[in-house]
């Protein structure tokens, strides 16, 4: 059994406020270890939210292996999210990528010093905002019941009956996609009045996408907290009047999808 530990970093915050210290001190994080705030010697530098993790599970090779295991990944993801979610209530956080692991706390301090300006700029940009997810679904399978239950006209050869059925399925799909485009345009209009940034995620499919229907957009918006309620209410009305469409709003999330730093060497806008 290894007694060495590595340092898992969750997020960066501007400073060590009493509320943040207290909240962090009440948390256990990944691998059940206590969470704390880490600051470098520079008092102007931001702070990192960290906890120790066992080297035997988080060194490179072990981590690669573990991440192949959906159950392990889920526990990790929920623990990571749990820490960030709890602290979001008392500070603006800049989340770090899942499984950001350092050899020791000194390396985290060096990272904080090195990226001080970038972190503070990003935190200022995110301050007072939340991330909201918006997913649009085509809910009904294309309505082919008429085509499949009605007996084929005797005059139609099997080949032509098949083609006719395919055509009607295609028409239903086209209608649904046209409706989805219009709903997406309504959502875009809502976003123009309430959101400040937009990020597109992959359309959800596969075993984890448990909802009914076909997911056609999966987006995230960065919204000022004061606009979050209106954004949600207006987005939820985007599918009004359309049959077979459904919109879901998730969040508020910590601004995961907008936690980015300028590319090294890129000119800042």
């Amino acid at each position: 059994m290894s007694d060495t530990s590595l340092t898992y970093a969750y997020a960066v915050a501007r400073d060590r406020t009493p509320a943040l210290v207290a909240e962090a001190g009440a948390l256990t994080g990944v691998a059940g270890a206590p969470v704390h705030l880490l600051r470098s010697d520079r008092t102007t530098a931001p702070v990192a939210v960290v906890s120790p993790v066992p080297a035997e599970d988080f060194h490179e090779e072990a981590l690669r292996r573990h991440l192949e295991d959906l159950g392990w990944l889920e526990v990790l993801a929920r623990a990571h999210h749990g820490v960030i979610e709890a602290l979001t209530a008392c500070a603006t956080l800049l989340p770090l990528r899942l499984a950001t692991v350092y050899l020791d706390e000194d390396r985290v301090r060096a990272m904080l010093d090195h990226n001080q300006e970038l972190f503070l700029d990003a935190l200022a940009r995110l301050d007072g905002h939340v991330e909201l997810g918006v997913k649009l679904y085509i809910e009904a399978a294309p309505d082919t019941s008429a085509a499949t239950t009605a007996p084929p006209e005797p005059a139609l050869s099997p080949g032509r009956a098949y083609l006719r059925r395919r055509r009607s399925e295609q028409d239903a799909r086209d209608d649904a996609h046209r409706a989805a485009e219009q709903a997406a345009e309504r959502i875009a209009a809502v976003a123009r009045s309430h959101a400040v940034q937009w990020a597109r995620h992959r359309v959800q499919e596969g075993e984890l996408a448990t909802g009914p229907g076909q997911n056609v957009t999966n987006d995230a918006y960065l919204v000022p907290i004061a606009h979050a309620h209106a954004f949600r209410e207006e987005v939820l009305r985007a599918t009004d009047g359309f049959n077979g469409l459904r919109v879901e709003v998730t969040g508020p999330w910590a601004p995961y999808s907008f936690a980015t730093l300028p590319e090294p060497g890129a000119s800042t806008p």
Binding site: G206, G211, F258
Partner: protein, 99 residues
């Protein structure tokens, strides 16, 4: 989380709207009301492609891993009834992150 938790609008039958005891290993001091557990797929959308990737003396981050190799990624993105993807070795790593 409490002050920011807004109403979740989706249908009650949806898995992620079911109120379950918090299964995360995060324990908070005092009493915490049961939280709505977010859907794993929504969480992984964010955690596998979002969050700042810092350079430096890291051991590893998910960003370093070729996610095509992760069975989980395939589960999220490609395997469905419509698309029973084999464990395609040559599929490009089309990572769709924030713009």
């Amino acid at each position: 989380m409490g002050p920011l938790l807004l109403r979740h609008p989706s249908r009650a039958r949806r898995e992620h709207t079911v109120i379950t005891p918090d299964r995360t290993p995060v324990a908070r001091a005092g009493t915490t009301p049961p939280q709505r557990q977010v859907a794993l797929v929504d969480l992984l959308d964010r955690l596998l492609s979002g969050g700042v990737v810092v350079t430096g003396d890291l051991v590893l981050t998910v960003a370093d891993i070729d996610l095509v190799r992760i069975s989980l990624r395939a589960l999220i993105t490609s395997i469905s009834d419509r698309n029973p993807a084999p464990w395609a070795e040559a599929r490009p790593a089309g990572r769709t992150g924030p713009p």
